[in-house]
Each structure stands twice: as structure tokens, then as C-alpha cells.
């Protein structure tokens, strides 16, 4: 029987949905499962960790793990993987995962597959599906080693609400610090805002909004909808939006029920981050903008005129 270790995704002290999604997939293929949680002051997450559905919980809780550092985090994952004798280590999709997974693979002499959307257990070996070339093609990749480390693309697997775990806690010794790459500071960009990855609706602003006034206009729409507020790279590079608000190949991958692209042209690198959305609405003044090729509903118009009306109409319909 396969043994799958899932790395818990914890953001600002909260256990994220990807953990239960990955554990559900592991259970569905009949694997024995464990979860490893890494951070500081995370003891209170134990009920959630058990609830996420694993048979066993490895916990590395140490003040020195408060800030992300790839070396120590990888050491914790490797420690848990060895104790559990995992043949699979799965990460949810995040910048931290992308930094840690290849290290863990190298240390476990395992194959490494990033951004996978599916995993199949064929006769005697594993195959995974993953997008490549900015989402223009899918690859079917054969894993030749017994062990595999994978980063799973957001939204690839669904959580099984029935899944229940059992409490079997193993506490991990704190890892040695990385003395040669010392994390000094986190310049936090994440406020109390809605996490893009969790949001049911995401509103994103592009270069069409031109300036801070344009950004505020679109932000007001996001707030009206209680939506996550994202951006294209153009707006991040111009300094109007924080890095961790960027949607796309080099940013967040989102798959909300409704995605609103406001003043965004629809470059392939942007599409790679949002084309899994259920419904896409685009507002763009250029009727030929490529975003209209993927949008379910398109409004051709000036966003400075359209967005306030959009907000009014939504307010009306919701009250």
C-alpha cells in the first residue's frame, strides 16, 4: 500500500483547504496517510489536522519556525518522511512549497513533479499529469523512482467531507537553522484581506486602470462583492499592487466560481493563473482583447464608466 505524506499548508495560523484535498486524494487511491505541520505556535491546529483526515500527524512546532526558511522546513519534511517511510510526499501549491519540494526530493533521492493536476498508479509505476509551456500543453510524466515528491496545482483534487482522521501525534525535533541563508525579516503584504486562493469570487485589476484612482475604483467593487482582490503583473511591476496579489504563472493560481478581469488584456501568463475559474467576466475597452477569447461574459467598454455601474447593479440584485 502506498504511503502518502501530505505537507500541511498553514497561512497566518490557519490550516488551508489544500491539506484536506490532498489527503482525500491519497485516501481515494487507498494510501496510508500522514500529515506534517511546520510552524510556530501551531499546537492549537491539532484538531483541524486530525479533521483533515490523516492517520498520523507529525508536528514541528518551534519559535524558530515562525518565519519561512526553505532549509529548516525541508529538514522537517524529510524527517517526517523518513519516520513515516513515505513513498509519496505531496505539497499544496504555494511559493514555500515550490522552494521546499525540490530540496526534499534531492534529499530523499526521489523524483520531483511540480504543478501536477493528476496522479495515476499504473502497473508498477506512477504517472502524473502537469501543464507546461505556460499552460499551452499538458505533459504525461512517468516517474521512474519508487519515491516521488509532488507539488499539486491548486484546485486539482476535491476534499471529501466525510473523511475522518485519527489522532496519532509524533512531535518532531526542531531542525538546525540555516546559518548561511538567514531569514531576517518579512515585509508583510498580507493584511486582513481575503486570501486569493480561498476566495469564491476574485476581482483583478490590470493596466487599464492606469493609476491609484483606477485601482481604488476596482477595489471598491471587490469589497462590495466580498471578493479577493488580485492584479496582473503590469500593476504589480508598476507598484500599485503587492507582489502576493499577482495572478498568473509567476503568481497565484486561482480557480474561483467567478473571476472578473478588469482592464486586463489576457496575456498567456495571466491566463495560466485563472483559466480554471468557473465563470469569467471581462471588462475591456478593446473588443479584440484576447481576454474575450476565454471570458464567458464580456463587457466592451471603459472600465471607469463600467465599474461603478457594475457595483450599483450588483448591490441592487443582492439586496
Amino acid at each position: 500500500m502506498a504511503k502518502v505524506l501530505v505537507v500541511a499548508e498553514i497561512k497566518q495560523g490557519v490550516l488551508k483547504g489544500s491539506t484536506a484535498e490532498l489527503l482525500s486524494k491519497a485516501k481515494a487511491i487507498g494510501a496510508q496517510t500522514a500529515v506534517v505541520a511546520i510552524g510556530s505556535d501551531i499546537e492549537s491546529l491539532l484538531p483541524d489536522l486530525v479533521g483533515a483526515g490523516a492517520d498520523q500527524q507529525y508536528i514541528a512546532d518551534d519559535a524558530r519556525l515562525a518565519l519561512f526558511s526553505a532549509g529548516p522546513f525541508a529538514a522537517c519534511v524529510v524527517d517526517a518522511a523518513r519516520q513515516f517511510d513515505a513513498d509519496q510526499v505531496w505539497f499544496g501549491f504555494s511559493e514555500s512549497s515550490k522552494a521546499v519540494a525540490p530540496r526534499v526530493a534531492a534529499q530523499l533521492d526521489a523524483a520531483c513533479a511540480t504543478e501536477i493536476t493528476d496522479v495515476m498508479f499504473e502497473q508498477g509505476h506512477i504517472e502524473v499529469i502537469r501543464p507546461a509551456i505556460t499552460n499551452k500543453v499538458l505533459q504525461r510524466v512517468r516517474i521512474n523512482t519508487e519515491r516521488m515528491v509532488a507539488v499539486v496545482r491548486a484546485g486539482a483534487f476535491a476534499a471529501d467531507p466525510e473523511l475522518a482522521g485519527s489522532e496519532n501525534v509524533v512531535r518532531l525535533a526542531p531542525p538546525p537553522a540555516d546559518l548561511k541563508a538567514v531569514i531576517k525579516e518579512l515585509v508583510s503584504e498580507a493584511g486582513s484581506e481575503i486570501d486569493l486562493a480561498d476566495a469564491d469570487i476574485v476581482v483583478s485589476v490590470g493596466r487599464g486602470a492606469r493609476n491609484q484612482d483606477g485601482v481604488e475604483l476596482v477595489k471598491a467593487l471587490a469589497e462590495e462583492l466580498n471578493a479577493g482582490f488580485g492584479a496582473s503583473r503590469a500593476m504589480v511591476d508598476a507598484g500599485f499592487m503587492a507582489h502576493n496579489k499577482q495572478v498568473g504563472q509567476t503568481g497565484k493560481i486561482v480557480a474561483p466560481t467567478l473571476y472578473m478581469a478588469i482592464g486586463i488584456s489576457g496575456a498567456i501568463q495571466h491566463l495560466a493563473g485563472m483559466n480554471g475559474s468557473k465563470v469569467i467576466l471581462a471588462v475591456n475597452k478593446d473588443p479584440e482583447a484576447p481576454i474575450f477569447n476565454v471570458a464567458d461574459y464580456g463587457i466592451v467598454g471603459d472600465l471607469f464608466e463600467v465599474v461603478p455601474i457594475l457595483r450599483q447593479e450588483i448591490k441592487k440584485i443582492r439586496s
Binding site: E95, A105, Y297
Partner: protein
């Protein structure tokens, strides 16, 4: 400071890509420098200009890489090598990292700069695995580098909760994101000069290793087939009076798509 920067020749992602019988149709494809590597080259050249670093590039595989390497020379890279060998045909990130390890060990470098991922595979692994093989510190997804002294850099990376500031001791590996800088356009004069510059070409033997030592026959993973991505098709596009069409679309979002 001696810098080694890696450059890969990749398929131009902006062009149409077709898949037939599990393979990518080669006809009509064009090849360019990997976007993230171009940012890596720019980073190296800026460190040369600002801190007197020496810059060397290495490119692995890809057949004729002359244009890509000359472009980097024209941007300001001082020397370059191209490593190609039939044994690398099925190379995965681990095999590339083993080859880079050999290059690093032959050269006494202080800093390796790689793009954070390559546009053909989007794997994002090679630089990080290289650091593991070399036992060096590594920061990935880097968006800023500041030289503190001969042995130390202050590096910022884009992380999940914000920008992480890391004190990095050399020798080290960094993988850079596109937002670290805006790569300069090579000038005509630079491109002319680049033609006169040598490119050191090597196979694995010339590099002082072998397909066996690198493990070329046993990639940890291999692509068995390509498939077309499911294409989304556009739906309805509304033009005309802003108030009218916006109200109509909101109604459709609520009552047809049922997402409001």
C-alpha cells in the same frame, strides 16, 4: 565575485503550439532565450557593472545555441560555454543539476544565478537541486539582490506572506523571478562584437565526466506524452450603451450563471 549564470534555449511560448499523436509538432516552432534566464543574465551584468563581478554563462543542450549565447554576450556577459551531448536527450532536472555541479566544481564560482524556471518545462527545480548537490545555501524566487561585502548578499524573495529578506553567505545559488529587473535590449554594436567572441563547446567527456557518472541513463522522471490543453471558448461579448449592457450582464451572472 565570480558569477556563473545559466541560460536555456526554449520554445517561444507566444507562438501557437500544436500537439499530434502525443508529441509537439516541431514545424513552425521558434526558439528563444528562457525569459527567467534573461533576467538572470541582466542580474549578473548589473553585478558586473556595479560590483566588478566576473560573469560566465553556461547553457546545456538545445543543439545550436549560438544566437542565444551571443545575445547574452551582447548584454554584457564575458564568457560562455555550451555543453551538449546526445546522452542528455532525456535529461530531467536532476541530470541538469549534476552537469551544472561539474561546471561549478571546475570553476571556483561565488554565485550561481539561474532563472526560477524554464518556459519549456515550467519545472522550477534545477537551481534548487544544484544547491543541494553542492551543499550550498539557496534562495529561490528572488526579486532583489544587494551586495553587502565579498562574502555576503542581502537578497529579497517573493514569498507567500510578503517579501522575505534573507542574509545570504557566498558561495550560494539564487533563482530569480522576472520581476527582479527589466533585461536590457542588446545593441547592434554589442551583437557585432559578440560574433567575435568564442563559445567554449563541450560534451560530457570534455567536461571531465561521463554519461554514467551523471546518471543519464536513469532519469528520475520522463515525459511519455504531450496532450493538448482543454481550451476555454469565449462566451458572449456585449457592446453598446454601458448602463444597458452592464445591467444585462449582471442579470446573466445572477440568473443564468448563478454565480452572484
Amino acid at each position: 565575485m565570480k558569477i556563473l549564470t545559466t541560460v536555456k534555449k526554449v520554445v517561444d511560448v507566444e507562438l501557437n503550439i500544436h500537439v499530434k499523436d502525443g508529441a509537439i509538432v516541431e514545424d513552425g516552432l521558434q526558439y528563444v532565450i528562457n525569459a527567467w534566464d534573461e533576467n538572470g543574465v541582466e542580474t549578473a551584468v548589473q553585478l558586473k557593472e556595479d560590483s566588478g563581478a566576473e560573469t560566465t554563462l553556461v547553457s546545456i543542450g538545445g543543439g545550436d545555441n549560438t544566437d542565444v549565447i551571443r545575445r547574452c554576450y551582447a548584454m554584457g556577459i564575458e564568457s560562455g560555454m555550451h555543453i551538449d551531448d546526445p546522452a542528455l536527450e532525456k535529461a530531467d532536472a536532476f541530470i541538469y543539476a549534476r552537469v551544472l555541479q561539474k561546471v561549478f566544481e571546475a570553476g571556483d564560482y561565488d554565485l550561481v544565478i539561474t532563472g526560477k524556471q524554464a518556459q519549456d518545462t515550467d519545472n522550477g527545480q534545477t537551481g534548487i537541486i544544484l544547491a543541494e548537490y553542492l551543499g550550498l545555501p539557496c534562495v529561490s524566487n528572488v526579486i532583489g539582490i544587494e551586495v553587502l561585502d565579498d562574502k555576503h548578499l542581502k537578497v529579497s524573495r517573493s514569498g507567500d506572506a510578503g517579501t522575505e529578506i534573507v542574509a545570504l553567505e557566498l558561495p550560494a545559488v539564487v533563482t530569480v523571478d522576472v520581476s527582479i529587473n527589466e533585461p536590457r535590449l542588446p545593441q547592434m554594436r554589442g551583437l557585432m562584437m559578440a560574433k567575435k567572441k568564442a563559445i567554449e563547446k563541450m560534451d560530457l567527456t570534455a567536461l571531465g565526466t561521463s554519461a554514467d557518472e551523471i546518471g543519464c541513463a536513469a532519469p528520475k522522471s520522463e515525459i511519455v506524452a504531450f496532450m493538448a490543453t482543454e481550451k476555454r471558448s469565449g462566451g458572449r461579448k456585449f457592446e453598446g450603451d454601458a448602463a444597458e449592457i452592464t445591467a444585462r450582464v449582471v442579470d446573466l451572472l445572477a440568473n443564468e450563471a448563478k454565480v452572484l
